[in-house]
Amino acid sequence: MFSGALRTLLSVAAAMLASAPALADPAIVYSVGGKFDGSFNESAYAGVTRFRDETGSAVREFELQRDAQSLQALRNFAGRGHAPVVAIGFNQASSMAEVATQFPNVQFAIVDMVVETPNVASYVFKEHEGAYIAGLLGAMASETGTIGFVGGMDIPIIRRFLCGYRQGAMAADPDVSVLFRMTGDTPAAFADPVRGAELARTQIRSGADVIIQAAGGTGIGVLQAVADANVLGIGTDSNQNGLHPGNVLTSIRKRVDTAVYQSFMDVRNGTFEPGVKVLGLADGGMDWVIDDNNRALITPEMKAAADQASEAISAGTLKVHDIITDGPCPFS
C-alpha cells in the first residue's frame, strides 16, 4: 500500500519533469469567470484549443480566483519564459502594464482593454456593432413590433451593447419597442439561468417575440425560455444557434478565440506586432452566424439588410453609437 503511494508519487514527479515547459510555449490567464463560463473565457479557450490542435504545442493556463492574483500569475508565466503571455479581461490591465514593463523582452497580449506598453498587443472589440446587426435582424423578424434584451450585470459594456441593439432595431422599424432588463448587480448575474428565463418570460408576456441575451451563462436560461414559448432568441459571444434549432434567430459572435489564436500564432511565426487592435465587423472580430439551424429563419431581405448594414459600418458610412466614447445612448 505504502509502496503504491510511493510509486504514484514518483510517477507524478516524473510527469512533472516531463511536462516542464519548452521555451516560448504560450500562456494564458483567464479572468475570474473561469474558462468554462459558456461565453467570454470559453471563447478564449476555443482559441487555445484550436492552437493546440493545429500546432501540437502546449499552452499553460491559469484561471484567476480573484483579481489580486493576476499580477502573480502574469509574472510567473513571463518569468518562466512563456510567450506570449495573454491576459483575458479588462480587470487585468493594470497588472499587465506592470508586468510588461518588468519583462520588456516578453511579448504580451490582452483582450478587452488597452495597455500602452511597447511589448503588448491589445485586442478590443466593437461589441456595439454586432449588437446593431442583432437589433436590425430582431426588429425585422418581430411580428409584434416588440423585442427584448436581457443583460447580465449592469455595467457599461452591457449598456453599450444595449444601445447598439436599440439603434439597429430602430433602423429597421422606427416604431419598435425595445424591452430591456439587467439580471443583477453582482458577477452572479452572468451565471443565473433561472433568473434569465424568468426575465425572458416576463418580456414574452409583454409582447416581445425576439429576445437577445447579453448575459453569459444567464443567457442559456433566456434562450431556453424563448424556445419553450416558441418565439425567437438571439445568442451572443459564441455560436448558440444549435442550442434550440429553429428558435435562435442568429448568434452575434465576439471572436475572442481569433484574437487569442492570432496572438499565439504571431509569436510562433515571429510576426508579433504590439499595439491596439480594434476588432469590429470590418475585420471579422464581430460577426453573425447563419448555419443549418437558423437558415430558415433568416429571410433574403433580412440577410440583405444585415449585409448592407455590415458593409456600411465597415466602410465607416454608418456609425454605431458607442456610449463609452460618444456619451449617453440617444435611442430609447
Binding site: 514527479a13 484567476l64 480566483q65 489580486a68 492574483q69 500569475a73 479588462f90 457599461p156 448587480d185
Partner: protein, 368 residues
C-alpha cells in the same frame, strides 16, 4: 457549557490543531483521488505562502482582510448576534474610504488622509449595520436574515453609484479614478527596512488591523460596554434583569461590528487597488465568519486564523499554478474542508478529549 472540563491549552490550542490536521487529512485524500501527491501539494502550499518574501507578503495581505472581517463577526458574536453582513458592510465601507481619498489625495500626504479614511470606512460600515441592528433590537427581525439581505442591497447600491454617479466617465470598468500619492497607504516593503515583500500589496493596513485587535480586546474585556455585550450574549434575560438596555446593546454592538467590517475596505481600496471598484470584497466578509469561529472570537485566535486563511488563499494560488491538475475549484474544496472541520465540526473531537483528560485527571485526584 463544558469549557471548564478541559485545560485552556487543549481548548484553545490542541482542538483547533486536531481539527486542522483532520481537514488536511481529508484534503489529502481528495488530492490522492485526483492522482496527485498530497505531500507535494502541502509542500507547494506552504512554500507558496511562507517560503519567500512575496509569498509571505500576499499571505499577510489576505490576512489583513480576514482580521478585520473576523473581528467584526467576533464582536457581534459576543453579544449573541450573528452578523453575516460583513460582505456588504465592507463594500459600503469602501465608499467612506474612497470619499476621503478622492477629496484629499491631491492636497495632503497619506498620513493625513488615513484617519479620515478610517473614520469614513468605519462610519459607513457602522451605518450599514445600524439598520439590521435597529430592526433586530426593536422589531425582532433576525439579523441573520436582514444582514444577508443588506449584502445584496449593498451590491446593487454600489453598482448604481459606480456606474451612474461616481464612476469615471469613458471607462469600461465601473470604478473611480485612481488615487494619487495622498490617497495611498505605503506598502510595508517600502517602510520596513530590510524586508522584501516583492510586489505583494501588504500595506500599512496590517498595522491598523493589529491595532483593531488590541482595541477589540480592550473593548470586550476591559470596558463597561464590553461587559454589557458579553452579559447580553451569555444570557439576554439575565442581562435585562440586571439593568442592561437590550436595544442600546444590540444596536451599538452591530454598529461596532459593521464598522470593523467596513475598515476592511481600507486594505483593499486605499492600500492595494488605489481606487474604488465593483466587487472588491469578493467573499472576505464570509470567510470572516470562519475566521471568527476558528479563532474562538478572541483577537489572538483571530489573528492566527486569519494568517491560516491567508496561507490558504496565497498558497492555494501557488498550488493551482504549480500543479495544474489541482484546479482552483480544488482549492475551494480544501478551504471548504478547513471551514467545515474548524467551524461546523468544531466539537466533533471534544467529547473524546474530555473523556481522555477526565480519565487522566481522576487517578491524580484520587491519589491527592
Amino acid at each position: 457549557m463544558s469549557t471548564g472540563q478541559l485545560p485552556r491549552w487543549v481548548d484553545l490550542g490542541l482542538i483547533p490543531l486536531i481539527n486542522l490536521v483532520a481537514a488536511f487529512f481529508v484534503s489529502g485524500l481528495v488530492v490522492i483521488l485526483i492522482g496527485e501527491s498530497p505531500v507535494e501539494a502541502v509542500q507547494v502550499l506552504i512554500w507558496g505562502s511562507l517560503g519567500f518574501g512575496e509569498g509571505i507578503g500576499f499571505t499577510l495581505f489576505y490576512a489583513t482582510n480576514f482580521i478585520f472581517t473576523g473581528l467584526a463577526v467576533a464582536v457581534a458574536f459576543h453579544a449573541g448576534l450573528f452578523n453575516i453582513g460583513g460582505e456588504g458592510q465592507a463594500y459600503i465601507g469602501g465608499l467612506g474610504v474612497a470619499a476621503a481619498c478622492l477629496l484629499l489625495d491631491h492636497i495632503v500626504p497619506w498620513w493625513v488622509t488615513m484617519p479620515f479614511a478610517v473614520a469614513g470606512a468605519a462610519l459607513m460600515g457602522a451605518a450599514w449595520a445600524f439598520i439590521p441592528g435597529y430592526l433586530q433590537a426593536t422589531r425582532g427581525s433576525h439579523v441573520v436574515i436582514t444582514t444577508i439581505m443588506f449584502n445584496f442591497i449593498a451590491a446593487s447600491l454600489m453598482v448604481y453609484l459606480l456606474v451612474n454617479v461616481i464612476g469615471e466617465a469613458g471607462s469600461m470598468q465601473p470604478e473611480t479614478r485612481t488615487f494619487v500619492e495622498g490617497g495611498r497607504l505605503p506598502f510595508l516593503t517600502d517602510i520596513i527596512p530590510g524586508v522584501d515583500f516583492g510586489t505583494a500589496p501588504v500595506n500599512f493596513s496590517l498595522i491598523l488591523a493589529l491595532l483593531a485587535c488590541i482595541g477589540v480586546w480592550l473593548l470586550i474585556w476591559r470596558t463597561r460596554l464590553g461587559y454589557e455585550i458579553r452579559s447580553y450574549g451569555a444570557n439576554p434575560d439575565a442581562a435585562v434583569y440586571a439593568g442592561i438596555n437590550p436595544v442600546r446593546t444590540i444596536v451599538i454592538t452591530m454598529m461596532i461590528s459593521g464598522g470593523l467590517a467596513g475598515m476592511m475596505a481600507i486594505n483593499e481600496v486605499m492600500g492595494s487597488q488605489h481606487r474604488l471598484l465593483i466587487e472588491f470584497v469578493t467573499g472576505y466578509g464570509f470567510v470572516g465568519i470562519a475566521v471568527a469561529l476558528m479563532g474562538r472570537a478572541h483577537p489572538v485566535g483571530i489573528v492566527l486564523a486569519a494568517i491560516l486563511f491567508g496561507m490558504l488563499y496565497q498558497g492555494g494560488a501557488e498550488l493551482s499554478f504549480e500543479i495544474p491538475a489541482i484546479t482552483r475549484d480544488m482549492i475551494v474544496v480544501i478551504q471548504g474542508l478547513v471551514i467545515l472541520f474548524a467551524g461546523a465540526l468544531e466539537y466533533m473531537f471534544r467529547p473524546t478529549l474530555v473523556r481522555l483528560f477526565a480519565s487522566r485527571r481522576a487517578p491524580a485526584a484520587a491519589a491527592g
